[in-house]
Each structure stands twice: as structure tokens, then as C-alpha cells.
Symmetry: none
Subunit: 128 residues, 4 copies
């Protein structure tokens, strides 16, 4: 499942956050599943437990995971959570910036739309 690219300029914990989100969308992780403990994940990925812990915390505040004290950390169903309009706005903003970049790289609107469709296809229909 999750794989950390040590040469990426992206922070490890961010790669982990993204990787888990991707696994959920792929259906590799299902709602209710228990994910490995911080220590175990740290062993698997050869990383510092602090880094894993940070990723889990982020995913908790984003309501992707729930930690039950003494039991472990679990995947939450996406539908459980109301759409967070603040983060939606941020994402929309990010997309606007991406479109500006795209135009400067001479990428057409059609191409962008195609990219989205490709991305969605590769994720499969597990969330709909």
C-alpha cells in the first residue's frame, strides 16, 4: 500500500496522509478498518514514529480517521462527515492557481478536464 518517496521534496507526513487517502479511495482501506499502530507503521515504513503520528493527527482533524483510546485508529466512512465548506473553498482556490499555472504551461482546458477524468478513473468507483 502506502509508499514513501524519500527523494520527493514533499514532507514525509504529507505523503503518508495522501497515501492513506488514496488507499481509502481505492478500497484497499475500508470504513471501519483498523489501521496499523503508529509504532508498527513506523517499522514498516522505516520512519520516525513522530512522523507517523503527525500524519494520523492530520487525518483525524480531517475526519478521515478516528482514534478510540485503547482500541486503535480506524477508517471513517467518507459520507459520515458533512462537507467542510472552508476546505472546499481552499481546494477551489488551489484549483484556480493550478489553472493559472496550466495556462502558462500552455495546457488547454480540455487537457485539464481529461486529466481529472483519468485521475477519477484510476481511483475507481469505491466512493460513489
Amino acid at each position: 500500500m502506502v509508499h514513501i518517496d524519500k527523494n520527493s521534496s514533499r514532507a514525509y507526513y504529507e505523503q503518508l496522509v495522501l497515501g492513506i487517502k488514496e488507499d481509502i479511495l481505492h478500497g484497499i482501506l475500508q470504513p471501519g478498518d483498523k489501521i496499523p499502530s503508529v509504532r508498527e507503521m513506523a517499522k514498516q515504513l522505516l520512519m520516525n514514529p513522530n512522523t507517523i503520528s503527525k500524519a494520523y493527527k492530520v487525518l483525524e482533524t480531517e475526519k478521515v480517521l478516528v482514534t478510540v483510546k485503547g482500541k486503535g485508529t480506524f477508517v471513517r466512512a467518507i459520507e459520515e462527515t458533512p462537507r467542510d465548506e472552508i476546505r472546499v473553498q481552499e481546494l477551489k482556490n488551489d484549483l484556480n492557481e493550478l489553472v493559472i499555472e496550466a495556462r502558462h504551461l500552455q495546457i488547454s482546458q480540455e487537457e485539464l478536464v481529461q486529466w481529472i477524468k483519468d485521475a477519477e478513473k484510476s481511483l475507481g468507483g469505491h466512493s460513489s
Copy 2:
């Protein structure tokens, strides 16, 4: 024109880079136009000249601006630059991540596509 949000987590110079790119796509800045000098822009935005300079340099390496020592900094025509496939690939990757985020925020594919169309519309047809 450009406005810097001092509360944004994004670096000032990156906001400036993006703002200038946006102004170009909006047609507010046209190829050949002289943009405000480093010192003047610094005064306008209440920032340090070094920060402005950094933004201008980034835009120069991205072939968006040309700077002539002793004369000033000027807008370059977008068509002058061949598509940089490395950066295109990076952008595609960013978009993939954005799509993952979107799914977790329960944003549909259709909505994303609509956002892109809205973004492109607001930029106008100045580059096509």
C-alpha cells in the same frame, strides 16, 4: 492589481509570482509591458525589495518575465516558450493529489470540471 495576503500560509514571493501570472492572463499585463521596479513594488506592497526580487527572478527562470539590468523587468510573450514537459508532469501530479482531496471532501468530478471552466472563463481568452 496584485495583492499579498499577509495571513496566507503561502510565501509572499509565491503569492506575487502567482498574482503576476494572473494579471498576464487577464490581460492587465501585456507582453512587452514594463512591470514596476523592484523598489517601487516593494513600496507598494510594503515588503522588502529582496522578496520582490526573488519573485521576479522565479518568473524569469520560468520565462514569464525578462529583466534587463539598468532598465527594468518586462513581460514576455507566452508563446515564446516551448512547453516544459517536466513541469507539465509535476502539474499533472498536483492535479491527481487535488482530485484525491476532492473525493474526500465529497466533491464530484462534474463539480471539479465546472470549477475549471469557471476559472478559465474568469481568465478570459487572452492567451488563445
Copy 3:
């Protein structure tokens, strides 16, 4: 390895950029190697960390180094990067100007070609 000539008219950071490139071609620095940290290099060369940082950043945009925040800066494999035709053109232009200078200094074509062969020889075959 790298040495900065404080009397040179060339900017310190440019000398550093060139020196690192040379070390890579000489095989002193190998792909994957970690280069000294900004602060350490600054100490070694008796320079300001900002200046070192600038050199590293240039080398990163030129795809010679990769930097991972919190970990350090690393040498990238040359073959990873596709040939940048814009920079190739600029270099060709520089060479044209150099040939003009050479003629005025009464340096023959044969001599120039010999210089190139000498230069290549001293760099060794590490990239071929």
C-alpha cells in the same frame, strides 16, 4: 573540492554552482550523495549561508541537485533530466561569441578544438 576565488569578478554563488558541477563530472560527487549542509558549506568557505543557499537553489532548478527539507541536499543523476533545448541554444550562442573573441585574440580553430578536448579529458569519462 570546491574553492571560491574572492578576487574573481564572477559572483560567489556562480563559482559555487560551477564548482559543484565540476565535482560531479569528476566523479567526486556521485548521484545520490549528500552534499554539505548550507550552514556547513558556509563555514567551510567562509561565506554567508544565504549565498550557499542561492547556489543550491540554482542547481536545483537546473535539476542537478534535489533538496529535501529537513534532510539535506543531494546529487541527482544527470541522465534523469531531458536536454533543455532553450539552454542548449543559449550555450551555443555563448560559444559563438567565444569564437569571435578567439579570432580577435588570434586563436585558431584548431587550438579551440584542442582546448575542448583537453577540457573533456580532464573531466574524465564519468558521464558517458
Copy 4:
């Protein structure tokens, strides 16, 4: 003859210096020819006389031109001047740096040599 590219990042006076050297090698300017006065050249090129003057001064110290007070500025024969070994060394150094750049841009030795031959060919045999 000489043409100044206002968009080039190279200083005007340097472009002029190079342009005149090129014209000499092309045979457009012959030894003994009188070149236009500073004022006239300034008018022709729509530039500041100071800039022209600086270029002429550089060419004088490089022994490419001679100024005879009250008569004007004249082209000198290349052979008149002994080879300036200091500048030859500098040029050799520049070429070394250029070779390093070339290697990083994945340009082969053969290609560089071909470029030199092309450059020499375009200059013609006027100096030999």
C-alpha cells in the same frame, strides 16, 4: 550591420563591442576603416552616447580600435597586436566552464566541435 537587441539581458555596450568585432571578422569593417563617431552611432542605434562611448573605450583597450584625436576612430588590423596571453587564459577558462555546462546539458564533445566549425564558417576566412 550592428544590431542591438533591447530584450537581451546582455548590456548594450557589450552587444555593441561584440557586434563590431563580428563586423570586422565578416569583413564589413576593414582595417583602416573609420567607424561612425560616438554621436552618429548613438543616433543610428537610438542609444545614449555614453553607452557608445563605453563600447569604443573597451574596444580601444582591447586594441581593436584606435582613436586619433581630431580625426576619428579607426579599425586596427588584428595582426598588429601581439596575442594577449592574459586574455587568452581567461578565454580558455571561459571555454572550460562552457564545456562543464555542456556536459550537464548532455552535449557531446563532437557536437561542441561541430558548433565551433559552424561558427568559424559563418565568419568566413577574412582574418586568416
